[in-house]
Symmetry: C2
Subunit: 493 residues, 2 copies
Amino acid sequence: MNTAYQQLRSIFARISRFNHLSAIAHWDMQTMMSHEGSQARSEALAEIDVLCHQLLCDPKVGVLLESASKETLEGADEANLTEMRNTYRRAVVLPDALIEARSLATGKCGFAWRTQRPANDWVGFASNLHEVVKLTREEAKIRAEATGVSRYDALLDLYEPGMRSEELDRIFGDLKTWLPDLLRRVVAKQAPNPPLPLQGPFDPGKQRELALKVMRILGFNFSAGRLDSSAHPFSGGVPQDVRITTRYDETSFMPALFATIHETGHGRYEQNLPQAWRDQPAGLARSMGIHESQSLMFEMQVARSTPFLQMLHPLVVTAFGQSPALTEANFIALAQRARPGLIRVDADEISYPLHVILRYEIEKALIEGQIEVDDIPALWNQKMQDYLGIGTEGNYQNGCMQDIHWTQGAFGYFPTYTLGAMYAAQLFQAALRALPSLNGEISEENLQGLSGWLEENIWSKGSLHRTDKLMTDATGEALNTKHFRAHLERRYL
Amino acid sequence: MNTAYQQLRSIFARISRFNHLSAIAHWDMQTMMSHEGSQARSEALAEIDVLCHQLLCDPKVGVLLESASKETLEGADEANLTEMRNTYRRAVVLPDALIEARSLATGKCGFAWRTQRPANDWVGFASNLHEVVKLTREEAKIRAEATGVSRYDALLDLYEPGMRSEELDRIFGDLKTWLPDLLRRVVAKQAPNPPLPLQGPFDPGKQRELALKVMRILGFNFSAGRLDSSAHPFSGGVPQDVRITTRYDETSFMPALFATIHETGHGRYEQNLPQAWRDQPAGLARSMGIHESQSLMFEMQVARSTPFLQMLHPLVVTAFGQSPALTEANFIALAQRARPGLIRVDADEISYPLHVILRYEIEKALIEGQIEVDDIPALWNQKMQDYLGIGTEGNYQNGCMQDIHWTQGAFGYFPTYTLGAMYAAQLFQAALRALPSLNGEISEENLQGLSGWLEENIWSKGSLHRTDKLMTDATGEALNTKHFRAHLERRYL
Ligand SMILES: [Zn+2]
Ligand SMILES: [Zn+2]
């Protein structure tokens, strides 16, 4: 007879096989699917979601978890059991009726948003968002009661397990004391010498070739993954077959190039998650913040550094020919330019956290019931003025309607972007200490040292440790904002 | 309370949603999947296969089928219930142990075949095939006992429901009286003027452009499907999103072009299956023979006809430039060339049925226990000599080891290729009677008349009628070999 833990392993392995098909079908939907396939695909994906939910929430799983907790397990198995338990509790706590209502409301809100945003239709959007917020508050209440943390923290924990808003308040509070000022100083410093703008068009075929070349330099394993294009860049698929995407803009090669580098970071993490745990919860990426730290490690710490840009420059010239905007100095200036703007996804690494803090403050107050949906536009405008010096009054589409996250009920997600940026800075500093010649290696297309360090300290750990232990083991301390600040000051001042 | 039939509809709709994911993942495996994704993909597909088998074989389904047979149903629902019943009976009759043993044996045989075939290793291959045949005989015995037909017929019925070997013996017996002689006469007629061979290389990008252009002419719906490339051309995906593939050979554009046309025929059938029945058994393609009739309708009846080739010729010249081998006359001669050869998949439409009859005779005797695996090579050589005038002694790789079908236990499949060719000839004659200007339309890139006729008579019928009724409704008679003979004589003599 198998132990309870062994039986749980089989159940979770089975769910992971269904998740494999779901992941591939999701990737296909964004990259390959024909227009008329959309309805049937959504139904098929919903069906397998329901199946996985049922398999996970089977009362038998609860009983087995109970029994397994009395069995003697090795360290890694113990960690895996913990992840199983967390996964189970998160899934089982919500009543089916709420899951269904949320799925309907987010589906409706997200679908309408696609046309409401370009139409700047806040009133129409708000009425849908109201329902999503109402249901997400119910969800947060239930999760909070089950876990004993605040409502917002109960949602935050879904994306960044172990993180609490108390800590975020401290971290983001610190950033707010120096980041707006740093941004102003960098903008002032860069103002006298604005870089020449790129002169397109840039052939998408050549952009793709360059992207593939850079992925190879960054160590992406093309026997276990591929690059395609989609409306929004993402990283999907399964660890054995990672599917990253980018999007080609003929007027500038920079967005596709840096999006590819970003997604390559996500992809390398997935490709190098611990092989022995691939079909188990312990084999999954640790958190959304750690995931983002790997993409930002490649995009921000490595690829926008001067040594990397210097190495990259000749490849860019080979791809697109010489031009005044493509001198080495101008190319570097374009890649390291800081400019406050309205749109989060277009933001440079200095202003990006301010977009995140703004959203964090609004969504936390919203979930905790301190504000209502109708309060969002005024707050948005005010905080944009305060943090970035740009107002958004009446401009909903490039203000509070710009992101898809809230339409999907993903409150608590935004902080992980900036946690990722800070984890990345701290990890890169630790890697530099371990590998003193790292910057030289990077300038010679050699990412092996860094890859080895990341594999040893992050990738191969999957979810075997909690985030704080992962960070402490890797860097000698828990998350510390000073590394991010030092990084920005070093690069931009 | 839902009726039993309504409950069955829900169960079959759910299975069809899982089949959607399986179909996309299968397509992905042949077109997109990374090398290292293979193991995890096989496991995921096996898992969903097991799930669908369990859902279908649930004793509840048997009880519901029993109850539903006492409910009053409309004609189409009655047909759907019949298809449900057949699907259930076919699935439920095999013991799980046999399914598992068969899956292991065919997996091993097919995997080894990939290297044994190029190595001409008959002895190694035979030892694996022996096990596959043994298990397929067991399967045939069980199916025969359950359905009251002969063992071979019980397998044949899986691919061509309603067809019996008695009828095949009659049909193939007829073909054997005139086809070898017709082939000899056509070869003799073409011998004095052999066409000039094509001079490559032919750029795959240009081949793809031409293939897409021809798919558009043939009416393929690109909002509900796409063209990609794979090692072996196939048609997959789902009716809402049909995935066809081709394979580009730089030395000749003809294989990719005609493979694309062939798969477009399969694809158009799938795209135009009855919308109202898409998630039900009645909405599936009628049989493998009818499926092949649609691909051969497009490839053989339409695309290799002189009017179509005349219309196609300028497109080919536009794609690849003028050359002595690309005069209109030479191009047509290349597309209509008849030459007996060793390889079934390379055969022209006159010799193709002889390859099929040979395989039919051998596999029927094998399943009925009249011969053994070790008897195959000698029989193959003998029949190749008799039907096509070419021996295969000692040449296993291009003789009895050339096809994948038997390695997969797919005994009873081969006849559907030639049934398809004969259905196609008969259907095209009926379409010509209904559309007297059809050949003129084809020469003007106008396939609308034919498409409308096929949609009305075949595509929109799905599995709502039995094959014999489908053919009689469409053509006024059951399958009659005279149309195929008339077609070949008209085109080639
Ligand atoms: Zn990211
Ligand atoms: Zn075919």
